[in-house]
Structures are given as C-alpha cells and as structure tokens.
Amino acid sequence: MAIQIGSAMISAPVKLAPNEYKSEIKPIWCPGCGDFGVLSSFYKAVSELGIPPEQMVVVSGIGCSGRFPAFVEAYGFHGVHGRALPLATGVKLANPDLVVCAVGGDGDIFSIGAGHLPHAARRNIDITVIVLDNEIYGLTKGQPSPTSPFGMERKASPYGSIDRPINPIMLALTYGATFVARGFSSRPKETTELIKQGIMHKGFSFIQVYSPCVTFFDTYAHFKEVTAPLPADHDRSSLKAAMEQAMDARTLKLGVFYEEIGPSYEDSVRELRERAMAKPFDLQKLMAAFRV
C-alpha cells in the first residue's frame, strides 16, 4: 500500500516504535539540552507517519544541532556549516521519493546559511526544515547568533550585543515558504504534531523550534513565559494574518502560522521533464546536430 508523504511516494508505511528510529549513536548533547526534546518529537512524528527509515534522509550543517542526523535511524548527511538546505535540495531533486528533512541551528540556518533559505523557500521544494533555535552558538561555546536578544553579553559581546535579532517566522513567510510553524522543545506533543504536518505538507516547510541551550543560554523559563499558542481562530491560509501574528513582539506564538496548498518544485520539475521527454532522446542524434 503506497502512500504519499508530501511529494514522496512511499512504497509501504512501516510500523516502528519511536524507539526504533534511534540509531546506535548516543546523542552527545549536554544533559537538559532542548535538542533532546526535539529529537524525541522527531522520532515520534516519523513513527506515527510510518516512514521507512531507508526512505528518509536527514541533512544537517554544523553545530550541536548538526549532530541530529547521526542519532536517527535513517540516511543522514552531516554537511558543512550552513549548507544543509542546498544539500537537501540536491537529495530531494535527485530522488523525489525520499522524505527529506534539513535540521540546523540558528547560526547554521540564519547566519552563515542565510543566503540559501530564501531560495529554497521560493522554489517551494518539498523539504522540511527544522531550526533548533537556542538563540546562541552552542557548539562554539556561546557567541550571539542572529536570534540572540539585543544587548546580550557574552565573551564575544562583552559590552552587550548591538545587533537586533531577526524574526525567523517573518523571514520564512516573506520568502514564500508554504508551511510555516513554530514549536518549543518543552512542548513535545505540539512539536511532534508540527513536525508531522511539516513533513506531510507538500512543499517547503519551515519549523522554528525553540530549543534552549542549558549550557550557554538557558531560556527555558523565558520561553515558558513569553510563548503562547496561536489563537484558536487563526486562519492559517491567510498570509496577512500569519504576518500579523509573526509581528507580535510581546507574545511569541506557537503553532502553524501559515500553510499554502499548491504545486511544489517537484511538480514543476516533473511537468517540465514530461514536456522535455515528449520526444525520445538520442545522444547520437544530438551529436549529429553538430555535423559540419
């Protein structure tokens, strides 16, 4: 029984417990790191969707968060810093029947990788991006990231950071992401749901998950205080409504801000290819066109 997961046609869903998506490699994160929560939600989400491990590819860049793929029983690609999105794009384009997730940190995706996000999003390629946002550079021991609050004092900003943080949800909406959501690692049930929906969504899914770094920026209490679910009547099909919610500076909303149903990049590629393949290809003939 083949099923459709986003644009991927999966031969047959499997019945594996979340536990069975754990790889043999033990996470090396600090005890209490938010990333553990996101990983658990991820295990749960893919288990509930029944994705066969061999049909799934998890791509990442470098960072604490970048270690994610190795902990998942699936194909994984631990790339270089900032390049998870184009790597994932290549994977998905070459084999659209794979379920492709890209995982990264706030530095990885919004700083060094900032140039790739707009383009992956505007293409609407069917990958699910999960940003483990701890508002800090974890792996390099605590420098401010693009989501760190203004004024943050760290060794790299001993007089307080003078950079204003970006708004990741607004970014994703502006870029044309067709699924935009925000979770919080301390809300595992909701995060699981977001990941499930993101993966099922056909097109570019962007999920920002607050995932505190206990070692360099413990924001558990802060996020508990300032986050709240999107209003029950939020219209996720309205870009304007999504923008408004995203611009709310007092309460950081959790949930699905926006979803737009339509053709994904894979659909366009398929359609284009069908046109191109209408006539059978013959290399010899192509070469003959160069005859004197």
């Binding site: 790889s23 043999e24 490699i25 066969p52 491990p53 061999e54 049909q55 799934m56 590819v57 998890v58 791509v59 470098i62 793929p69 190795a70 029983e73 699936a74 194909y75 994984g76 690609f77 631990h78 790339g79 270089v80 390049r83 999105l85 184009p86 790597l87 994932a88 794009t89 290549g90 994977v91 998905k92 384009l93 070459a94 084999n95 029947d97 794979l98 140039g115 790739h116 707009p118 383009h119 590629v269 284009l272 290819r273 046109r275 191109a276 393949m277 006539k279 290809f281 290399l283 010899q284 192509l286 070469m287 003959a288 160069f290 005859r291 004197v292």
Partner: protein, 593 residues
C-alpha cells in the same frame, strides 16, 4: 595563390556582427570539407568595444590559431590599427572603404564599400553578411555551399530575414567578382570527404556532450563566464533524459546540490570558473571526507580575482589540485583540446564514481569557446564505470559500514532507498560505520584510506590512456605540458623538425595522480625538458620539480591569450642553440615565489 593553410582575422566594433561573420564563414569553410580553428577576443565593454575573430582553415587537421595573417578584414580604423602588423607581406588587406583608407604599405589592398552596399540593398544590418559573401569569393569557396550554410544558420526558411541575408551574401560575392578578383587571390579545397561526419563544435559543447555520454543526470550551476554555456546546454538536454539542471543561488549551493544528488546515486556535476571554484573549496573537502563522487568543472580564465573574465589562463592548477583545509584526496583531470573535452569528461565521471572522490576537471577559456572541426566522437570509448554499491542482502555480518576499510580504499556504498543501508555521511573524522571518532588511529586510517584510492586508480588511468605522447624517440629535448597548450606545442615541434630540431612531448591528462612511470621514462629519454604554461609562477613546473627533483626550462605566458606556435618554436630554437653550442649546462630557471 594556393596555400594549404590560411589565416584570416576580422576586426571591428562589437555590435557589427563580427563574430557572426567569422562563425558563419568558418562554417562555410567546414562545410566545403576544410578543417577550421577559430579564436576570438571579446571586449571588456558590455556592448561596444573592439572585437577580433580569427579563423584558420586548411584541408588537414589544425592544432593552433595560426601566427600570421594571410588576410585581414578591417571593419573600421581600429580593426586596421590593431591587427595590420600581423598581416604577412604577401597577405591581403580587405577593408570597409566607407570607414577607412589605409596607407599604402606594399601589400595587396582591397576596399569593400560595406556601408554603401548595405544601403543599396536597403539592409544596413547586413554589412557583415555582405562581408561573408566577399570572403567566399576571396577564398574561392563554392557559392552553393555558402548559400546552404546561410540558409541553415541565418533565419527561418521562407522568412524575410533569411531573404535579406541571401541577398546580402550575393551582393558581397558579386562585388568582389566584379571588382578585380574574378580570379580569387586564395584557393583552398577541402579533401573529398565521403559522408562528412566531422563536427563543428566548441570545448564547452564537447564537454557537455561528454557529460551526457558519461551518464550525468544532475547538474547544478551558477552562471559565470566562460562556463555558463555548459549550464545552458544541459538545461535543455538533461530533462530529456529524466535528469535535472538547477540554477543555484551561488556556487557553494551549486556544489552542495550536486553532492546531495550524488549521495542518492545520481552522476552529478557542476561547472564554474576560477572565482566559483575558489568558493567551493570547503565543500570540495567535504566531498572528499564523505567520499561522495562529484565532477567539478573549472573553465579557467585570467585572474587573480575577477581579472579578465573573457581571457585564458592556466592559473587554477594548484587551486584544483591542492586547495583544501588539510590534505584532501581528489582527482584532477585536464583535457587538452576541444575534442578531448568529451573524453576527459567521461573519464572524470568514471574516476569520481568508481573511486568515490571529487574530480576537478580543468578546462580553459581558450578551448571552451573556440569553434573547431573535429572527428566524430568515438562512442566505443564512452564506457560507463558504475559506482560500487553495497550488497546489503549479502552481508549478514551485522551492520552496514559505509566507510569499511578495504585494500583498494573503495567501500561499497549504499543509497537512500536501500533497506538496511542507513548511515550518516560524515565530515568529522569517523570510524567505518560513519560514527564520529577522534582517536589518532582512525584519523590516520581514514586519511590513508582516501589517498589509497588515488593509488588504486593508477591502472585505470593507464588503461584509459589519459596522456598523449609523441615526437622523436631519440630527441634530447622533451616537452611536458598540460591542457590546451598542446596545439601550439604540436605545431612548434613540426616547425622545429622542419628546421632539423628533434623533440618529443608528453601531455598527461590526469594531473592528480600523475602518470609517474610514463613521466619518469620520458624524462630519462629526454633529459632537457621544457614546460610551457599559461601562468606566472609555473604551477605545473613546480609540481614536476617537487616530484622529479630536477630543473625544468620554463616558458610562461600570462597575458590572457594562448601561445602562438611560433613563440614555442622560438623557445625550442633557443634551447637547441644552447645545446648545440655545447654550452648547455643548466639554463637558469626564473625564480619561483
């Protein structure tokens, strides 16, 4: 005057259709059975500026652009000023007599009132087509063939443009016939060719066809001169074979996409020029560490930095061979000619796939853009070496190990979709399973494993004959080169032989790893070695010196233009005279920095 080899140069303002004149006339010559070899310089200006197009044509294979002009066609004063010095004393100057009046210099002159003629036929944009007609007559080419070429290349059948072009062609032809050259000054005849299946093609086109022949199904690229037309070619073709071409947001993304695609099993490629390759260095190292096959084409242009984007250089050799943080095993392949771009691209794919490493393929601006007649491609040389895939059912011996240590260094690879083959491709130092590990032993083992693959590839490199060697067995003088300098070198050696100077040459096409045995043997036989290169520091000479610990005589040109055969010949003569005078000991080598 009948010669067996003619060079014509056309000079004028960009926008006047100089390149079209040249290209169409070249095609006409080719269509009559002649071989052609073209070269052009494109101005720094975006529009406007001076354009030069040169065609050499002969009834036999041609290897270089030609040194002196038999004919100069000057569209304007600048076209005369810049080029007339190169015209042979017995050459013919043709000029637009509505634009300039060249001084008498003893050479044959012919004024062609291009503006006037164009006005007469009410087709001002047709000056360059009139010029083509004139050239056909000057060279005594069959008018009917010219007509056919114009019909194929200059307008839709039955269209107004084509009609005008044909009128223009005839106008030029007739004008020359009626004004003094009923008997044409030049005559060239192509050999009778049964079923002529030679190709008129550029290096980038040959390279793109090579990629298709090699089974490439994925291309990601970012536009850059002079590599963009590879992307554009494959954009049209790849979807026809069910493949994909994607224009990425930059070169880093382009290589990342190609690597991602290769991870799933696709034969993947990207192409760029030096500035783009410079941006890919981090990811190239990652392809090495994760052992992901990928072909990266660098069509070299003159630098450093932006430099001269439309001019040639061989200055990226070290970048291609070595640039990486810490030692990274990779292949480096260098085609030597337009034709060879096809075969070396196939070799590059096969090396990448079989040995699961990145391959940098070094072309250059000169061979990438020039149009040339070449023999049809020999498809029997277009064999596809597959990637070694994991046999997951067969290995009941526990978990799949992506980076298993083997004698060859090659580990069977699983692809997403293959059940039981799950692993994470890892850029951190890792154990065979792919799990990160920082112990000294594994770091060493994995480093050695990857370099072992370069050693394992040697038999294939020999089998695929990735080198060219020719010349006199007993010559004292040997020439070791790489890339597109082969043409002028070949002709220079012929000139030398005509002067009684013996020489031999070897051109490896696999630069990493070098064909060591062959080179050692060559040097032993030909102990005085010249290394000609289109760069400043002598990058290849440096590699050779480090390997063979001896002096090499260098000939370096760094001006954005290819060698002339005569320049190489002069150097050969100079070396020969030094040897003759028995003064030869060790010619001082220009200091390297």
């Amino acid at each position: 005057m009948t010669k067996d080899d003619l060079v014509i140069r056309i000079g004028g303002e960009s926008g006047e259709g100089i390149v079209t004149t040249g290209e169409v006339f070249a095609r006409i010559a080719a269509f009559t059975g002649l071989d052609i070899y073209t070269v052009r310089t494109i101005p720094a200006e975006i529009k406007g500026g001076h354009v030069m197009f040169q065609l050499r044509t002969a009834p036999h294979r041609i290897y270089s652009q030609g040194d002196e002009l038999n004919m100069l066609l000057a569209f304007n004063q600048e076209g005369y000023d810049k080029h007339h010095a190169l015209l042979r004393p017995d050459g013919l100057l043709v000029y637009n007599s509505n634009e300039l009046t060249p001084p008498d210099d003893g050479r044959m002159h012919f004024g062609l009132p291009l503006n006037e003629l164009a006005r007469q036929i009410d087709f001002m944009r047709g000056k360059n087509i009139i010029a083509i007609g004139a050239l056909v007559k000057f060279f005594d080419l069959p008018y009917e063939k010219a007509r056919q070429v114009v019909e194929t290349h200059l307008g839709r059948k039955g269209g107004e443009l084509l009609r005008q072009n044909l009128v223009a062609l005839e106008t030029g032809y007739k004008y020359v016939a009626e004004h003094g050259y009923e008997e044409p000054p030049f005559h060239l005849e192509g050999p009778a060719r049964e079923r002529d299946n030679r190709l008129v093609i550029s290096g980038n086109q040959a390279l793109s066809l090579g990629a298709l022949a090699a089974g490439c199904t994925f291309y990601a690229g970012y536009p850059i001169t002079p590599a963009s037309d590879i992307m554009e070619f494959l954009a049209a073709q790849l979807p026809k074979v069910g493949g994909t071409m994607i224009q990425a947001e930059d070169e880093i993304a382009a290589l990342a996409m190609a690597i991602g695609a290769s991870f799933t099993g696709a034969r993947a490629m990207t192409a760029t020029s030096g500035p783009g390759l410079a941006l890919m260095i981090e990811l190239l190292g990652h392809a090495t560490a994760t052992e992901t096959p990928v072909v990266v084409v660098d069509v070299q242009r003159a630098g450093p930095s932006t430099g001269m984007p439309t001019k040639v250089s061989q200055g990226d050799l070290r970048l291609a061979m070595y640039a990486a943080n810490d030692d990274a095993a990779r292949f480096c392949v260098a085609p030597v000619s337009v034709e060879d771009c096809f075969y070396q691209t196939i070799n590059a794919f096969n090396l990448a796939e079989k040995y699961q490493l990145p391959v940098v393929l070094l072309s250059d601006q000169d061979m990438s853009v020039r149009m040339e007649t070449i023999p049809p491609f020999d498809m029997s040389r277009a064999l596809i070496e597959p990637r070694l895939l994991a046999n997951l059912d067969g290995n009941g011996r526990g978990k799949y190990e992506r980076y298993a240590l083997t004698e060859s260094g090659i580990s069977p690879m699983s692809l997403p979709g293959m059940r039981g083959g799950q692993y994470t491709a890892e850029g951190l130092t890792h154990v065979p399973s792919g799990a990160p590990d920082y112990t000294p032993e594994w770091h060493r083992a994995m480093m050695e494993k990857r370099f072992q693959k370069l050693r394992s590839a040697r038999p294939d490199i020999q089998r695929w004959r990735m080198l060219e060697e020719w010349g006199d067995e007993d010559a004292e003088l040997g020439i070791i080169g790489w890339g597109s300098t082969i043409g002028p070198v070949r002709e220079a050696m012929e000139m030398a032989r005509a002067h009684g100077i013996k020489s031999a040459a070897i051109y490896p096409k696999c630069i990493t790893p070098l064909p060591d045995e062959e080179l050692r043997l060559f040097i032993a036989k030909h102990p005085t070695v010249l290394v000609p290169e289109l760069n400043y520091t002598g990058q290849f000479a440096h590699v050779l010196r480090a390997r063979y610990k001896q002096d090499f005589i260098r000939l370096n040109k760094y001006e954005g233009v290819p060698f002339l055969a005569s320049e190489v010949f002069e150097k050969i003569k100079e070396i020969h005279m030094t040897m003759e005078r028995s003064l030869f000991m060790s010619i001082p080598i220009k200091e390297m920095v």
